[in-house]
Symmetry: D2
């Protein structure tokens, strides 16, 4: 099971975003603005920033997540998000002789498929051990490890980059495992910046606009229909 923990984040994230936005249009400096703005002003301004998509001010606050219980299928996709920072458990240095693995639901649901899958994981474990016992270094023995192998990662993104990540990865068209991760990260982010992330999520929800064209899941069209009623 995916485990997501918000390890640290910029303190007072909504105040920082509001103050940065305010600075652009004000004769006052940041420190003065940070002190002067009332909670109500912060709230109002953050809502406006989110609605207007004044995205650059959201970059001033960043969020660091500790993530476990995910596969390397997921992380190979995740690290393609380049406006982010990663530190990942290394298969070059960490021994994997008793690795955990992620079992996709479509396989878990079929007893026969599940048995095949689990038997294979066991075979991989044995082969990995045999290879390392023959003197093959960990960095080469890992070539036999499956995409399903569990990994751990620390991820830091700023709020703008997170919003974009949610747009793509909370989408119904995203792969199920990374979508599950995205929703858990969003839940964590909302706890500390509820206004900022209030409408965050898939593009359709967050921007009122589905970019998937002919590949759309149809949810957006549903939303439009419901709104029109």
């Amino acid at each position: 099971m995916i485990k997501v923990k918000l390890l640290e984040h910029t303190p007072n994230p909504e105040r920082v975003v509001a103050m940065s936005a305010r600075l652009c249009y004000s004769a006052s400096g940041a420190e003065e603005l940070a002190e002067k703005m009332s909670p109500e002003q912060v709230e109002k301004l953050v809502s406006k920033i989110v609605q207007m998509g004044h995205a650059s001010t959201m970059e001033h606050v960043s969020f660091t997540f500790g993530i476990e219980g995910i596969s390397r299928v997921l992380t190979h996709q995740l690290v393609r998000h380049r406006l982010a920072s990663y530190s990942q458990q290394s298969q070059r240095y960490v021994a994997e002789h008793d690795f955990e693995y992620i079992l996709p639901p479509t396989i878990a649901d079929k007893p026969e498929a599940k048995a095949k899958f689990e038997a294979l994981m066991q075979t991989i474990r044995s082969t990995y051990d045999e290879l390392t016992e023959m003197g093959v270094p960990k960095e080469d023995a890992r070539y036999v490890l499956a995409n399903a192998t569990e990994t751990k990662i620390v991820v830091t993104m700023n709020a703008r980059s997170l919003m974009h990540f949610f747009n793509l990865r909370c989408c119904n068209r995203a792969q199920w495992e990374i979508r599950e991760l995205a929703y858990k990260m969003l839940a964590e982010a909302k706890k500390v910046a509820p206004l900022l992330f209030k409408n965050a999520g898939a593009s359709c929800v967050a921007t009122g606009h589905c970019p998937e064209g002919a590949m759309t899941c149809g949810q957006f069209a549903e939303m439009i229909k419901m709104r029109e009623k």
Copy 2:
């Protein structure tokens, strides 16, 4: 005078960096590591990370500065650092009829030069006012404003990007105004992450290596000579 204030930063920056580095080589997860590591382990690991230049782990912590009392000569250079986030006071929206300005020391030192400079600033102010009174919008009246005009900016960089910024901008070959800013930012960063930024500064100091070639200021050669004695 340049005014730099560290507005916010990732809490426990050195613990976050150490934990992220540790994760790469460990079977444990981030949360467990964050709790388990003693202050001594954090200290030791951060020193090693800095010395080895394990730079990617430094990206997990970011620092947000409020900066005032700087010219647009400086900010046009500053915003060329692309691995950073900026919110700047806009001359398009903020009226500049009584703008402040930055007076370079080589001009301040010569009474006659200073008089010419200040008279010109006064002329610019009058012209700006006359133009706006004739109905020219602020966004066009600003075309007359000087590079010296004071501006305010909020800057966020992660520690890796900051290190690189200090390498280039604490260097004796950097322009005097941005160098002054860089030293003030470094002083602020050191207050909250003293180990991480202990040796931060110009390339020669931080990396034991001067990249300026024939344009070197000579300080590095001096350092080497002193060390050899």
Copy 3:
């Protein structure tokens, strides 16, 4: 007058984009795909990529522009686009005693305003010369130069970054000078990649979606109305 020249670009940009997109869904390698695809297949695929916003494949082709006749008001905005590369004429090293300047139309239109503006530019030139004659270095004399001062720059962006640049800067809400630049860059890009940039432009035109909210220019609403008729 703004002068934009496409100096170089990735050859066969549309073929490169199509081949990269194809590779993701094919068992064949890039070289084979590059050779096998017919011009019709390339055309069809590029149109689909643009329509679907499969933006990452557009990053493989880049465009290098030589730009002259622009102000530093413009370049201070331009260099805020961080997914791009810049080389700009330096006021630190290049003497500016007979600098050219950009005259905003709202000032050019009013004879009295224009006279004031031009007189000020003349005063700045004299002061710049007097300062350098008194021994003030160019890097400090430049503090008196106006935002209007002409500058030259080389800019490289990949097609994805260009698309985003056009979304923001071809918009009616963009500042007039950078908007003029954006349209000239778009015209140049269209000459060598007509299909790729066919619908490029402001967000409303390119994405069918206006992100300006209450600040909208209204053109998008007009477009929708016209389409409905």
Copy 4:
């Protein structure tokens, strides 16, 4: 075997870099400089740029490689280079029932290890096929695929990013497979920009400076000793 093909690159890469560098210090525009500079001037300036590390001008030229015959061990490392663009063959969409694989030399060298490895690859193939036959979608069946599975990718980097990639990945401390790729990419790049990439390679070779500290391979110390003789 790794297959690397330079598919496209910015034409006249050394002239573009030289012209961009020249622009910073000249009153002339880019187009004029591009025409006026003699091949000798370009040569001299490029050598100086490389030696001085005037890296930003190298960003104006980019190189697109088609790469085959590499493992997903390699690509998971490769895509961590964020200042680059990637299009990779997708295991979500492309069927892998007869996938190729990369056999590490330390395994190939031991007949018994090799036999175990190959038997396992055969078992994975069978399991993959059985799962898809049971109706498991490709995007989930891929969870059983090994890190060794062959993949194809298109990579674009500008010359600055390439230089950095070579600094890290031509290093003796880099993992063998990505090191092999790096040397092949370097050989390709040298064919079209021999001066620019003349000294490119591991940090020790390219910058005269080994950043590996206590983990150094020792080659740099050897180089220094040889030079002193």
